[in-house]
Structures are given as C-alpha cells and as structure tokens.
Amino acid sequence: MSITELIEAAAHEPVTSTADGCLKCNVCNTVCPVSRVTDLFPGPKYVGPQAQRFRLAPGSPPQAGSVMPVLSPDHTVDLCSGCGFCTNACPAGVRIAEMNSRARAQMRADRRPHLRDWLLGQPDLLGRVGVPLAPLANAALRNRAARWVGETLVGVHRHAPLPTFSRRSFRTRWSRSRGRRLRAPGSADPERSVVYFHGCAANYYEPEVAEAAISVLERNGLEVIVPQQVCCGLPLISNGLYAQARARARHNLTTLATFARAGFRIVGTSTSCTHTLKAEYREMLDLDDEDARAVSGATWDICELLLDLHERDRLDTRFGRSDRHLPYHPPCQLRSHGIGLPALDLLALVPGLDAVDLDLDCCGVAGTYGLKREKYDIAMAVGQPLFRKLRESGADEAACDSETCRWHIAKATGIRVRHPVQILAAAYVAYAAAEAEAAGAPSDG
C-alpha cells in the first residue's frame, strides 16, 4: 500500500483518524471508570490515541520481515470496557472507545477466538440451547460446583451476574398468544404500527420486558410487528469478533431495511441493541450502505419513542398513582445514543413517582466484560459508588434501561431493577384498576 493510499484509507476511516485531534489534555483519563479502579489499565489516552499511531491500518498487509505479528502495541487495550465515557468527555472529538474496540478486533483478527468470548458473544446461541432446558440450565447456573467448573474451564466468573433462562422464549409466547404476526411491510400502516426489535435479553431471559413494552405501545394505539431477527451482534463486537458480528448485522439489515424503507419505526427495549442498529453497524462494522443508513434512521429506543409521542401529544398519560422514590441509572449505552434521559422524563409523568437520576458513571459490567474471570473484580470495583448510593437510597426498586446493567446491579445490591417501560406498564394497569374500583364503589368518592 502506498503512502497516498494509506492517507486516503485513513481519511475514509472515521474512527481511527480522529486520533489526530488528540491534544493530550488528559480529560479522558479523568472519566475512565476502569483506570479509576485498577493500575493494570493505563487509561484511555494511552491505549487510545497515543497507541493508535503505532497501529497499522486495518487490512494492511503484514510488513515484510516484520517481527511483530500482532497489530496492537499495547494489549492492555483489552481492559477497556467500552463504556464510551472517554469519547463523550473528549473536547477534541476523538472517538477513543471506538478506537479501542477496533484495536481489540485487530488483535483478535488472526487468532482463533477464545471459547469463552465466542460463547459470551452469542447470547442467541446460549438462549436457543438454554430456554428448552431452562429448569436444568437455571439449576446449573445456581449450582456452585457448576459455576466453579464454568470459571475454571470457560473463564466465566463464578459470581458473574448471569440471568436465568425464561421457560419459554418471548417469541414462543408471542406467537402462541397472538398467532404468527410476521407481517409484510405492505400489509400494515407505518403510522399506526412499529417494528419491535426484542434482542436476546427480552427473548430468552426477560420476556416480561418485551410484554411490558408491547402493552405500552398498544395502549397508545400502535400495532406491534415482530419480524424475524437475530442477535444484533454487539456482544460479538465487544469481544472483538467483527466477522461474526457482520454476518448477524447483514441478516438483520436485510429484514429491517424493508420495514425502514416503507416508513416503519423500529423500536427496541435494549439500549445496547438499539445503539448497535443506530451506530455500530455503520461505524464499527463498516456496513455503511443504504440498508444500514435506512435502519439507523428508523431505529428508536423505546423511551425515546414514547417521549416523542408525548411531545406530539399522542401519549396516553393516564398513569396510576405510585408514591415512592425510584432511583434511576442511565446506562452508558444510553449516553452514547445522545438522546438525553427520556426514561426520566417519562417516569416524571407517573403521579407521585419521584424518579431521580443517580448521576454516577458506569455500573461496571459493560455487557459481557464484567462476566469474565479476569475482569469481574474490576467490574465490581467500578460499580461500588453506584451500589453504595443505591443502598443508601433505601429504595427497594430501581430503574435502568439496559439488561446487563440491571442484572449486575441487582446481583450486587439485592435491589430489584426494572426497565422503565415495565414501570410505565404497571402504572397503566394501576390506573385501570383505580378506575375500576372507583366505578365499582362510587360511595367512596
């Protein structure tokens, strides 16, 4: 590759070329939750823009006579959890976390993936195996001996917050209760319906989240279409397995782009999946074609969509009263969306509900990061300030938009953590119940 070609490649490479903007001001190092707790990780400035200049452009041929088979000068980049705070903090627009993800993928590119990372990267595969065997699989997940074996042989920490498998997947429950609704884009009205991307968590572990979202959407007059889909691929991206992630992305894009082009909005209950559809297919996986752009533009986080309905006076705000304090933790992925705190705005609509932003950084788990044997302790240390503030709040329930954060926080604190949409769904039910009661006992008034 000639110098000119390299420069051209760099100019078309939006993530890594931002390293040029780095002023070495260290602002990124002040926000990194990982370097805050461990000396093993030197911080985003060093493994990001500073190391970037020593990395070869992706796809460049191995240098003749090179003694360095690995394309990253600094393996500690693997300790980056990908929370993205550094990217958000940088005043010079350097995309540090994205750079780190690419560096990790480069490191992994020529090696066979670690079995653990390959497994954790595919929650859909785990789900397909685990759900039919749910009682057995869940017993194993609770069994200390089995977890010890898992830690020793596979490298998943014995205390890692693994979710329990649902006895039936959301898709099974959905098709049984509603019949198979694999509608073609032509047969529904894009104004009155939305496409639901449930992702793996709602499908295999928390179908109640999907059902809450659907009840809230239907309450607001939107028909919900659940198309064929596979895992969004984010866990593969975070584990540096870009090629496998790209296969999943292409699969999803093919289905979803048809809906997006027909004017449908795609809504998801996992901030991680929706961010992947919005940004990571294009930015990280280089799938920046028409399909990816259409899907990106059509994708909404559930709370973002509901708040948009509200701003257009189309949200049913008849929520039942709920007098309590509710701590809310906005997950890191939500901050990468750049959409504000829509969940907090929505929860403020529930009468009596005092939802408060905990305003603390990462909970530590960062997707699959905190599940790993060598990173679990880091994840727990990162989350300590959050866990402490949550315990001190005295609340018995908290809200958070992202599933892995919910599981991690719940495991660490013993406090129940729910998706904001579950709280909204419950508030609709409470309203209906109060209405029914008022109608049934008029003398009460």
Binding site: D39, S296, W300, E311, H337
Partner: protein, 445 residues
C-alpha cells in the same frame, strides 16, 4: 423532541454558571456540550482580574471596565453578586473558596516554580494567599516518582529574585521529596491517581506520617507552610484537606498542576452536582450543530446523536461556546474568524495582524480580544451596535469580545458574571407565558 425554557451550549465555567442559575430559578434547562471544557485544565481558582499596579481585584476590574469595549464595562455591576452567589453554591457543595475582590492580589506559587497573581482561591489553596511573616519558611513537598511536580526545580524557581514581585516572600524555600507508600511502583501516576490514593483513609494516614518523618529528618521545622501538589482528594476532598491540616506540622496548601486539574475537576463536579440536584440536565458528548430559527427567533437547538439529531425546543439560547481555544470561534484559511453556530459577526483584527512580531508582548496579541460583541443584556450585536442574529440569544464567557483573559486574568470573573446575568435576564419566576406545556405541569393537571 424535548422542550426546555433554555438551552446552554458549552460546559465551561460560563455555561455551568448560567445553567445552575437557571435551574436554581426553576427553569427547565439543558446544558449541551461536545466535551469537557476549561474547568478540567484550569487552576480551580476564580481569576477575576489582575493588572500591574492594581492592588485589589476591584481596582483591576474598575480599570478594565473603564474601557467601554471590555466585557466588564457591562458586567462590573453583576460581578460582585454573581461571585457571592457562586461561592455560596460551592460552599453548599462542600467546596468553600477564600479571598475577596477587595483583598490584595498576591503572588502564589505554581508547579513550574514561578508565581501567579491570585485573590480568590479554593480553601485548599488558602494558605498561599496569606502574607508571609518574617522568619517563615516554605517547604515544597512532593511524592517521589511523580512526574508533574518537581520540588527541587520549584524551590529553585521560588528562590529567584523577583519571584515574589519584590514583596516579602518566605524567608527560606526548601524542597522535600517524600516516598509515599507504593507510589513509586505504580504503573501510571497522574494527579487523579494520587488524589484517589489520598481518599483511602489508611493510605493517607501513612502518607502524612511519612511526610512528618521526612520533615523531622530534614530538619525542616516551623514556623512556615508547605506547598503540596493539588492532589488532596477528589470527591472526599473536604475530609482529606481537614486531615492534612491537622496532621501536618506546617500549614499545607495545594499547588495546581498540569492538566488534568484536580481542583478544576472539583469545581466542575460541585457545579454539576448542584445543577442535577436543581433539576437541570447536563448532556456532554456530541457537538451542537444547528440552531433552528423561525421568524427571527431561536426555536430549537440540535445536537449530533447516534441516528438523528437530538433536538431541544426552546426560545432561549445561551452561547458559552468559548473563544478560539474552546471552538466558539473557528479560524478559516481566508484569514477570517467565524462563529460556527449562528455565523454571528465576529469582532477580530484583520488577518495580517495575526502574525504579530511579538506574540507574547506585554500589550497582548491582537487576536486575544476577538469575540462576539454584545449589548448590556448580552445579546449579540454587530460592529455598529445593531442587533445581530436571531432573538433569544445571549453570549457568555470567553466568547465575548474585548477581553484578554490570559493577560488580564479576567476569564473566570467574566464567565461567572455573564453566566449569572444571562440566566437572570431570563428568570421565569412567573408561570411561563408562551412556552410549550411543561412535562411536570401536565402531571399535576
């Protein structure tokens, strides 16, 4: 699309002040910024004004205000109440400041062994403000292995004739390098790391004991004070400072370091915490790219986001985007400076004068004073004083034309006074007249 009473762009001291004043007054306010700003780089003191031969801050401000083109010409009345207000807020957040605008401007030591003029400093730097008594010694004390603070070089600089501007400095200046537990073996050691170490009670107990021992061994006993690097804790700073003061035989004060600035981080965190508690929103991570204008008025502010712009509906825009360093003004190859958001008229010298023969001449570089000219209510105006840009805009901080903040040390004073004034000009004490329905209002209704 959320709506707000006001949107503040920029997360420096001006933007934070404006946001806090608005939030405190009950306005729904969003602070939007592309990244962290000057607080993370600056000393954490409040530099209001310092001029040669001006004894007090008030005197320097009055002299600057005599120039009708200086921001103080319109801000000098707002300055004292604004400073009192922000100091009250900071005190409430556990970050008290000392010194007044009527006290003398005195030389305080810097981490390169020079002195800088100061009058209002955080409590941790207070001991540097007091006049030096005859016979007092200064011990410059830093941990071994820390590359941002070299006691021997600093002490040598502070012994130079003229370092204390001819006023009485300490009688002796002595360097002292202390080996603090485990510090030399750390892989990374920056100010943030040290500040976090000081937050561990056990570690800092040992650290203070080590410093006491070193003082005795070195025969460096009182009376006197000691200059420590500014690393005495971050979130738990008050406790660390109290312990340092009680445990060390010489009265300690902090010397601000190279970025990232721990005192600046404390300032940022205190203001941010106050904003969030008052119900304001802080969203940092993407650039504001578009200001929507209808019928000559600001109607919305759009920020980059993952899939589509994040748009906040508002009729009030406070621009605290900074000067050339902050990106509020952008230089173009044709020799012009432009304001990128609204293309407001920029007051700047002709391009040829940029190439000053003496960039560091005492009179200042002509470009330093470039910025946006405003009327007395901080609304942008053009060269002839006529309103420029859409209605609903206020200009704050170093974007204001006519200041030379490096030379006049007026940056923090201009920031706080202009932020406070801009917010006060829009204090919604009465029910809002024309704003879209408030989210909270709808619940109550």
């Amino acid at each position: 699309m959320p709506s707000a009473d006001a949107v503040v762009v920029g997360a420096g001291l001006a933007g934070l002040s404006a946001t806090l004043a608005l939030a405190e007054a009950g306005a729904r306010v969003h602070l939007l910024a592309k990244g962290h700003a000057s607080t993370h780089w600056a000393s954490g003191g409040l530099d209001v004004a310092a001029l040669p031969r001006a004894v007090t801050v008030r005197e320097a401000v009055a002299r600057l205000a005599d120039d009708a083109r200086h921001p103080y010409a319109i801000l000098s009345d707002a300055l004292p109440p604004a400073l009192e207000w922000i100091r009250g807020m900071l005190q409430h957040e556990g970050l008290p400041y000392v010194g007044t605008i009527d006290g003398p401007v005195v030389p305080v030591p810097t981490s390169i062994g020079a002195t800088r003029p100061a009058a209002i400093l955080p409590a941790a730097q207070a001991a540097a403000l007091r006049p030096w008594e005859p016979g007092e010694r200064l011990v410059v004390c830093g941990p071994g292995g820390f590359k941002d603070y070299w006691p021997h070089a600093i002490a040598r600089g502070l012994r130079r004739a003229g370092a204390w501007w001819g006023s009485a400095g300490p009688e002796r200046v002595d360097p002292l390098v202390v080996e603090l537990p485990g510090v030399r073996d750390r892989l990374n050691l920056d100010a943030i790391e040290l500040a976090r170490l000081f937050e561990e009670p056990g570690w800092r107990w040992d650290a203070f004991a080590a410093i006491r021992r070193a003082l005795i061994i070195g025969g460096l006993d009182g009376p006197g004070r000691m200059a420590l690097p500014a690393v005495l804790g971050l979130d738990d700073h008050a406790a660390v400072l109290a312990e340092a003061t009680s445990e060390l035989p010489l009265e300690p004060f902090e010397v601000p370091l190279m970025p990232p600035s721990v005192p600046g981080l404390r300032l940022y965190r205190a203001l941010r915490a106050a904003i969030v508690r008052a119900g304001g929103r802080v969203q940092i991570g993407q650039a504001v790219v578009r200001i929507g204008v209808r019928d000559g008025r600001v109607v919305e502010v759009a920020m980059e986001a993952a899939a589509r712009q994040f748009v906040v509906r508002t009729d009030m825009l406070i621009m605290a985007t900074g000067g050339i360093a902050g990106g509020g003004l952008v230089g173009h190859p044709d020799g012009t400076l432009r304001e990128p958001l609204l293309d407001l008229p920029v007051e700047a010298p002709p391009a040829m004068s940029w190439l000053a023969r003496e960039p560091l001449a005492a009179g200042g570089h002509p470009l330093e004073a470039a910025g946006i000219r405003s009327d007395a209510e901080l609304r942008p105006v053009d060269a002839s004083g006529r309103p420029a840009g859409p209605a609903g805009v206020r200009i704050c901080g170093s974007l204001l034309a006519g200041q030379r903040y490096l030379r006049e040390r007026c940056g923090d004073g201009v920031a706080v006074a202009s932020g406070w004034l801009a917010a006060g000009a829009h204090r919604p004490s009465a029910p809002r007249r024309d704003a879209p329905q408030s989210l909270a209002g709808e619940v109550a209704g």
